[in-house]
């Protein structure tokens, strides 16, 4: 096979893996949007908050240490323990559930039957609040997250592909793990929503609030449930991104990449979120590869451009907005007159 094709395959595979990350964040958006019609701007920050909490718990960091030290003149920093990864993850999941309950009590409950834009604004407020809270609780420095996931280039894949094509693909172990975890997560969510009592109730609420009420479903319970699930999905996304590039506040910016993913996949479709994420992941990597290569773009167009990854997703989303506003899988929006 010609080298360019092999490179392109490798780029595609890496794009798929990046896409999985986008899909994970987009999935959190879709879950909340379907169940409550709320566009949750805070989904990315939720992932950040989860990752910060996880690192903090794992390393025995004292929450609010800065504040406590400044107020009482103490010099606290850690509890001096190191929690096993699994325990820290479970505790963080528990904290995400508590967070969901607090959000419902303090915010959503008071905004029932408000216009979607008001709820959207509330989630913007929530995003900034959580970002600030994360900062004050755990500090703003970049933290290393290690829950024992394999990292680095996979030797096996490099060796095997080298044997086949005479060219070893560079695939990160972490990306492979992320893909497997994402698949398991989606499978679990699907089984949950199709076969469990709570999952049925969730689908009912997503479909029609009034009808759901009439069969005895508590909307408040469902809201806590979806925000908990979204918090859990955020935790998974936070672990993956945090392991990959450290837990830092730019993590909340991945939510911005989820936006074009949603425009592609539609705001109400779980398969859409997955496939949209993959398309954007592969698309931006391949486009970058082609446009920055002197042998491809250079030879075809006579010029090359770099750093296309920054804007490719948004331009693609814009094209979709113009030609297929409901996304690939979203329901067609028909205005009733």
């Amino acid at each position: 096979m010609p080298d360019q094709v092999l490179y392109a395959i490798e780029v595609t595979l890496n794009g798929l893996m990046t896409g999985v990350m986008y899909s994970l964040v987009a999935l959190g958006f879709v879950l909340i949007f379907k169940a409550s019609g709320v566009f949750n701007y805070a989904q990315g920050v939720l992932a950040l908050f989860a990752a910060l909490t996880l690192v903090g718990l794992q390393n025995g960091q004292v929450p609010f240490a800065h504040v406590i030290n400044a107020t009482f003149g103490t010099n606290l920093s850690t509890f001096g323990w190191h929690l096993p990864a699994l325990l820290a993850i479970l505790l963080t999941a528990g904290i995400m559930v508590i967070l969901a309950i607090i959000i419902e009590r303090l915010v959503l409950k008071h905004l029932v039957s408000q216009a979607p834009i008001i709820l959207f604004m509330a989630t913007i407020g929530l995003a900034y609040f959580l970002e600030g809270l994360g900062d004050v609780m755990w500090g703003a420095d970049i933290k290393k997250l290690d829950v024992g996931l394999p990292q680095g280039i996979s030797d096996t894949i490099e060796r095997v592909t080298d044997g086949w094509f005479g060219y070893g693909f560079f695939i990160d172990n972490l990306d492979i793990v992320a893909t497997v975890v994402a698949v398991l997560l989606v499978a679990a969510l699907t089984i949950f929503s199709q076969y469990s009592k709570q999952g049925r109730a969730l689908r009912a609420v997503a479909d029609d609030h009034q009808a759901a009420l009439s069969v005895g479903i508590s909307l408040r319970f469902i809201w806590v449930l979806v925000w908990s699930i979204a918090g859990f999905v955020a935790l998974v996304a936070g672990i993956m991104w945090g392991t990959k590039s450290g837990v830092q506040f730019s993590l909340s910016l991945i939510a911005l990449k989820a936006l074009p993913v949603l425009m592609l996949g539609g705001f109400t479709s779980i398969p859409g979120a997955i496939i949209g994420g993959l398309i954007i992941g592969v698309g931006e990597k391949l486009f970058e590869f082609i446009m920055s290569s002197p042998d491809l773009a250079g030879a075809w167009f006579g010029f090359t451009i770099g750093a296309t990854e920054n804007w490719f997703a948004y331009v693609l989303a814009l094209l979709f907005l113009v030609f297929r506003p409901q996304g690939l899988f979203g329901e067609k929006i028909i205005e009733r007159v």
């Binding site: 009592k197 049925r200 029609d208 009808a211 009420l213 009439s214 479903i217």
Partner: protein, 252 residues
């Protein structure tokens, strides 16, 4: 079920003005009246969708505090809506299954760990639902997504979902509106059979006077938020206020 001195206001609009009436166990109680009389509002008060501004609601002789619709549903009061509220994305079967949600016991964890028990429970619920499907003669559309059904069948599926909850009190808001004669006859037959065979207590709103007179044991007549008549179909038919309201004659 008893309602005492119910008043319901929306800002300046008085939808219900100081109305009292009761629904006896096992009867078919109709609420009739011109458009905008406040009939649906009354049903919404009973089912917890509206909280009355004044007045008291008694269910099984116990005074009910302000309740959320889902709490009322769990008491055993099921309802249908004037403008049909179904889960359009689900099949007929799934829609009807949601009617049994409040009766499902297995929670998240037990479902994960005791698969056998959960499967058995699911099976028992399915059996009940299949019986309702047979009763309402909708076997052939069991798997159809509800969004695709014609209006008359949607109304029937909505009734099926309400029945799946095995309600002690069934509230039907214009169950026959927009139906053709044949569909109306079917629906009337279902309502009568329900009442006869399962002695379900039913409170229904209906426009068609003929249907109301045939079906109901007792009738409440509303007009402009007030109660202007209450009694057996015969009594109501001969009530001068009711005749005037329906013929639009002014009092002299």
């Amino acid at each position: 079920m008893e309602l005492r001195n119910i008043t319901l206001r929306f800002g300046g609009v008085v939808a219900i003005k100081d109305i009292s009436f009761d629904i006896r166990d096992g009867e078919i109680r109709a609420i009739i009246g011109p458009n905008g009389a406040g009939k649906s509002s009354m049903l919404n008060v009973i089912s917890g969708f509206y909280i009355p501004t004044e007045g008291e609601v008694y269910f099984k002789k116990i005074k009910r505090g302000p309740m959320k619709p889902y709490e009322v549903a769990r008491l055993g009061i099921a309802r249908t809506f004037q403008n049909i509220a179904l889960f359009d994305g689900m099949s007929v079967l799934d829609n009807i299954m949601t009617g049994r949600l409040t009766m499902m016991k297995s929670g998240l964890l037990s479902q994960a760990f005791w698969y056998g028990a959960a499967a058995r429970e699911e099976f028992a619920h399915r059996e009940k639902v299949e019986r309702i499907i047979d009763f309402l003669e909708i076997q052939n559309i069991r798997k159809t997504p509800v969004g695709r059904l014609p209006y008359g069948l949607k109304k029937r599926v909505e009734l099926a979902r309400a029945l799946a909850a095995e309600p002690k009190l069934l509230l039907l808001d214009e169950p026959m509106a927009g139906m053709n004669v044949e569909e109306k006859e079917d629906m009337s037959r279902f309502i009568l059979d329900l009442n006869d065979e399962f002695s379900t207590t039913i409170c229904l709103i209906e426009h068609d006077m003929g249907v109301v007179m045939d079906l109901s044991d007792r009738v409440v007549v509303m007009d402009y938020g007030r109660k202007i008549g209450d009694g057996t179909p015969d009594e109501v038919r001969n009530n001068q206020d009711v005749i005037d309201a329906y013929l639009g004659v002014a009092h002299d």
